[in-house]
Symmetry: C2
Subunit: 173 residues, 2 copies
């Protein structure tokens, strides 16, 4: 686990505003990884109550949201029907998520989070601050900066829930 950077500033390898955004996204990700560190598969699959998402399902959601914003901002298109089929359970969570998003060890989620983030960082490193401010063509009310802020913001929102759920896991699960 890396030591989180607690300065927001331009980062080597990125244009200045993208670097600051990457600093925020990376801090948010570090906090997520700390929040789930050491969880077992039964803990990742545990449902706190009949309406809850498991921690594992929330991690799948983070991966799916990030993939969706890669498509919209880097490929500049809406999700294809195939992508929708593949990702909608994790994007929407709820009853189908409770049934489907389970049975995976922590390493599975960590590998997926790492792989999707690597693609995001490569995509952001290849672009510049003018791009960051441009409208996202399949969703022109938002700009790319908001889109990537929102990916971090959604992650932080769910991390708050993950922390809450983690302190209430049954002992010995």
């Amino acid at each position: 686990m890396t030591t989180p950077r607690i300065r927001i500033e331009p980062l080597s390898g990125y244009t200045p505003t993208i670097g600051r955004l990457v600093g925020m996204m990376s801090y948010a990700r570090d906090m997520t990884l700390r929040a789930v560190d050491g969880l077992t598969m039964p803990e990742l699959d545990h449902l706190h109550d009949p309406a809850s998402n498991s921690i594992g399902a929330l991690l799948s959601h983070l991966v799916a949201v990030e993939r969706a914003y890669q498509v919209m901002t880097f490929e500049e298109r809406p999700l294809s029907p195939q992508e929708n089929d593949l990702w909608s359970t994790a994007l929407k969570l709820g009853a189908t998520g409770r049934r489907m998003l389970r049975g995976r060890p922590l390493e599975h989620y960590l590998e997926e989070l790492t792989a999707v983030r690597e693609r995001t960082l490569n995509g952001l490193a290849a672009r510049d601050d003018a791009w960051l401010e441009r409208a996202v063509s399949p969703a022109p009310k938002i700009n790319a900066h908001w889109a990537w802020f929102h990916v971090a913001e959604d992650e932080i929102n769910h991390r708050g829930q993950i922390r809450w759920l983690r302190t209430r896991l049954p002992t010995g699960s």
Copy 2:
């Protein structure tokens, strides 16, 4: 309730990087206000389980965190013993918070959130992007940009919890 801005870009009245940060902070605040809209005092005081913070206590926490970062970044000093006494219950939450932070209507929290945010925005409008990148003198490992990102990040984390708690409020409370 304002329509949330879903573009992050320079904002009139602020230097460019501060404006982008204010866009993120304002979006986070808008989402908090939506998450608590219409809650009654019994709902704000409700404790989901013996270890839970009430939604009202979480709102008090947001106010206290923002005040503390105003002191550290705008006044460039640590909290005074008096400020610590006054704010520590809301900063720390937990058992004392469950006992003390209750019995207030939504309007009370909204007024406090509005007042503290107005001071933050005035403080940020009076400063510039070079200030934003400087170390925070009473906590020199962080810079002012991280400090204010963290205020939003902490709020988003707790809003995730507020949303979770709200969907589980007892009906008729």
